[in-house]
C-alpha cells in the first residue's frame, strides 16, 4: 500500500514537473472554457451544462493518451523500469500506482472547470439543477479513467511514447466511430456487441442526470480489463 502511494505520488508529481502536464491542463481549460462561454453562458438559455459535458468527454480522446503515453513507455526507454521492477514493489502496485497517478491528474485537470459551475450558479435564475452536473462530472471521470487505462496498456507495450500515444488515440477514435455509427452498417451478428460498446448513448443518459448503475459498471469493467491487460503485459518480460 505504501509503495502504491509512492509510485502514484511520483507519477502525479512528474506530470506537474513536465511541460506536457501543464500544456494538457492549459489546453483543456481553454477549450472547455470556450465551450462554456459560447454555448452555456448565454442569456435566455436554460441553466444546464449538458453541452459542456458532451465536449468535455470527447475532448479526452486526444488528451487522455497524452497523459497516459509516458506511464510505462518512458520508463522502459530510460531504463528506470529496471530499477523500479527490481525494488520490492509488486507488479500490481506499479500498475495501480501509475494508473492512480494518471487518474489523479485527470481530476486535477477537471477541477478548474468547477469555476464554470460556480459562474452558472451565480448568474442564472433559476439556479441550475445540480443532479445533471454531478452526473456529468461522474461520466467524464469514468470515461477518462477508461481512456487512461487503455492508454496505460498501450504504453506498456512499447518504449516509444509517440507510438503509445498514436495507438491509444486510434483505439479511442475507433471507439468513437463505433459510437457514432451505432453499428448499423455492421453484419447482424456484430451489431449487438458493437451497440454494447457504444459510449455516446451512455453519456447521454448521464447528461440527463441519470446515474444508471449498468453504465457505471460498463466503464469500470472496461477500465479494470485494461488494467489487467497492463498487468499481464508488464509481467510478460518474465516469459518473453
Amino acid at each position: 500500500m505504501k509503495t502504491f502511494l509512492a509510485v502514484m505520488g511520483r507519477e502525479l508529481s512528474s506530470l506537474f514537473r513536465l511541460p506536457v502536464g501543464w500544456i494538457v491542463i492549459a489546453l483543456y481549460a481553454f477549450l472547455t472554457g470556450v465551450i462554456f462561454a459560447t454555448q452555456i453562458l448565454r442569456p435566455g438559455e436554460a441553466a444546464t451544462m449538458r453541452q459542456f459535458f458532451g465536449v468535455a468527454g470527447w475532448l479526452l480522446i486526444p488528451v487522455a493518451p497524452a497523459i497516459s503515453m509516458r506511464l510505462f513507455a518512458d520508463e522502459a526507454r530510460s531504463g528506470t523500469l529496471e530499477t523500479l521492477m527490481t525494488s520490492p514493489v509488486t507488479d500490481l502496485a506499479v500498475v495501480l500506482g501509475k494508473f492512480g497517478g494518471a487518474a489523479a491528474f485527470l481530476i486535477a485537470m477537471l477541477a478548474p472547470t468547477l469555476v464554470h459551475v460556480g459562474l452558472l450558479a451565480a448568474f442564472s435564475e433559476p439556479r441550475p439543477d445540480l443532479g445533471p452536473i454531478v452526473a456529468g462530472y461522474l461520466s467524464v471521470l469514468l470515461l477518462g479513467m477508461m481512456f487512461l487505462a487503455a492508454g496505460a496498456f498501450f504504453s506498456s507495450l512499447t518504449s516509444n511514447q509517440t507510438l503509445a500515444f498514436l495507438a491509444s488515440l486510434f483505439f479511442l477514435l475507433f471507439l468513437l466511430m463505433v459510437s457514432l455509427l451505432g453499428g448499423y452498417e455492421a453484419p447482424v451478428w456484430l451489431q449487438g456487441p458493437l451497440r454494447t460498446l457504444a459510449i455516446a448513448p451512455r453519456l447521454t443518459d448521464f447528461a440527463k442526470g441519470v446515474i444508471d448503475v449498468s453504465h457505471v459498471v460498463f466503464f469500470l469493467t472496461l477500465t479494470g480489463w485494461f488494467l489487467v491487460l497492463t498487468y499481464l503485459s508488464l509481467g510478460s518480460r518474465r516469459w518473453r
Binding site: A6, V7, R77, G79, E82, T86, P88, T90, N160
Partner: protein, 342 residues
Amino acid sequence: MLSVHSVSKRFGGLQAVLNVSFDLRRGEVVGLLGPNGAGKTTTIRMISGYVPPDSGRVEVDGHDTLSDSLAARRALGYLPESAPLYGEMKTADYLDYRGRLFGMPRAARRAAIDRVIGRCWLGDVRRRRVGELSKGYKQRVGLAAAMLHGPGLLILDEPTNGLDPTQIRETRALIRELGREHSVLLSSHVLPEVEMTCDRVIVLARGEVRADERLAELVARHGSAEVIIEVSDPPGGPEGARRVLAGAAGVAGVARVERDGQQPGEAGWSRWRVAVETANGSGRDLREPLARAAASAGLVVRELRREAVSLERLFASMIVSQPGDDERTTVHPAADPAEGRR
C-alpha cells in the same frame, strides 16, 4: 550473501548464459568480468530478479529471487548500467522516492538520505534536477540510490562508466569502503579498477564461467607478465642484443618493439618485449635475469619494466584456448525490447 546455482538463460536461438554458478560471502567485493556479450548483464538481471532464469536459481541473503522475490529484492541494491534516473526529479526527491519504494519510514529515510548524500559527494546538487546533472553526478546519484536502504548486497553494473579520473579514484575508494558493510558484485571492463577494488574475480565468456579466483592467481595463470627492456646495441647490432636477452633464464621469446609502432627508435639502442616461459613458473619476474644477462654482455640498460597485463589480453588468452567456441555467435541479445532501441 548471494548464491547463484547453475542458472541458464536463452534468448531465441542464443544461449546468453549457461550453467553459471558462484557465491558471494558477506563483505566480499567480487568483480564480474568479461568481454561484451559475455552474459554479464543477463547474469546481473537474473540476480536482481528483472529476468528469471530458464533453469537454476538465485538466492539473495537466503531468499529465492523467484519464490521469495520481495524479500530478495529488499536485500539488494542495484545500479543498472548507465544509471537510469528520472530526469525531472530533484536529487533529494529521487532518493526520498527510492526510500519509500523500499518501505523506509520517514525518519530513517531522512537519515539515510543525508548519509548517502555525504558519502557520494552530492551535497552540491541536493536541490538540483537530476536531468541537469553531469554524467558523473548522475552515476553517483544512482550509486547513492542503490545503497540508500543499506542492502546486504550491492550490484553495480559498470559504476565508474563516464566519470572523470578524480571521480573514478573516489568511486573506487568508496566501493572499497562499501565492501566493509555490504557484499559487492561489480561488473567492469577496466582491469585497474578490478585490481583496486575486488577480492576475487569471476570471468564470464560466452555465457559461461571461465574463472572464479583471486585476481593475482588469475593473472599468474593466464596473463604472461612481459618485460619491456631497452638496451644499447652490442657490436653485432640489434640481432646481438636479441641473442643476449633470449639467453637469459626463463625467457620464452623476444620480440623487437618499435617505439609507438612507427618510429624506428634511436640509433644504437633497441627496445624488446620479453615473454615469460610459461612452463617454468608463469608470472615470474624476469627483470633481474634480464638485467644480469645484459650486464654480463656489456649492454647498457636504459629502461626496464614489467608490462601490466591488460584485461583484453587476459580475456583473449582465456577464451582462445576453448575449443568449439568459434561457431557460436558472441552477439549479446537485448534482454528486453528497450535495450535494443537504446
